[in-house]
């Protein structure tokens, strides 16, 4: 498993841990009504589970497992793919922090970073989506 995939999968596992903890607190609040503050974590729960966990895990595994290219860069442009993961996680981090900042454009910038990250990832792996010749 290449280094980039290892980083992405580990970050995805961390997102799963934090995201599911927030989700569990919300469900406990629904049951007992003793943790009203847990609802403030709903946005972060959704962001962590959908982008941080599921999306990032899938991308990390895809970077590892898709057919490799002949030549010096078998997994495509590693700088592009690395930048993609950095932007995705910067966007995720900003989305988690946005509700606590007075700046109204925080979530917009967060989503833009995430979209840009996903676009770069698509560009990086596009040539690897191909038929394997026997």
């Amino acid at each position: 498993m290449p280094l980039l995939s290892r980083w992405a999968v580990r970050l995805a596992l961390i997102a799963l841990g934090v995201g599911s903890t927030l989700g569990a607190l919300i469900l406990i609040q629904k049951g007992l009504g003793t943790l009203p503050w847990a609802w403030s974590g709903l946005g972060a729960h959704v962001e962590l589970m959908l982008i941080g966990w599921m999306t990032q895990f899938a991308l990390g595994i895809a970077y590892w497992i898709l057919p490799r290219l002949p030549g010096m860069a078998p997994r495509g442009n590693p700088i592009l793919a690395g930048l993609a993961f950095i932007l995705l996680n910067l966007g995720l981090l900003l989305a988690l922090l946005a509700p606590f900042r007075p700046w109204p454009w925080g979530l917009v910038l967060a989503r833009l970073l995430e979209v840009l990250g996903l676009l770069l990832f698509g560009l990086a792996i596009w040539p690897r989506i191909r038929a394997l010749k026997p």
């Binding site: 498993m1 799963l16 841990g17 599911s20 569990a24 469900l27 007992l32 899938a58 497992i65």
Partner: protein, 134 residues
Amino acid sequence: MPTITRWLVKTSLVMLVAGLALGVYLHLPGISSGGLFPLYLHLLTFGWLTQLIIGIALWMLPKYTLERPRGDERLNWLIYLCLNLGLVMRALFEPLPPTALSPWRGVGLVAAAVLQWLAALLFIRQAWPRVKGR
């Protein structure tokens, strides 16, 4: 494909069908979504997508060791049990009105929260050492 993966993938497909069927029900004229909408979302994101990812990951990630390729198999089965028991308990208790079946609704939702959270933590524990180069 190992047995645990087959169980996780097949159960995830059952959850997909259950989630989609619930989605159809929620769109029937005159039906109030009530507490069913969060269940619909979790059947699809946790019961289907997360369970499918966990099943495939336990199979595909680099081997833990040659003797125990998927680590402690008992913990993998515990992931399966916690994830699905947690979701079933959620399905039983979350749609009920907050005052119904008191205090059992609260106890059931706390149990559902803890079980789903444990499933996530156990998967992280099992996957983390398998995220490696070779």
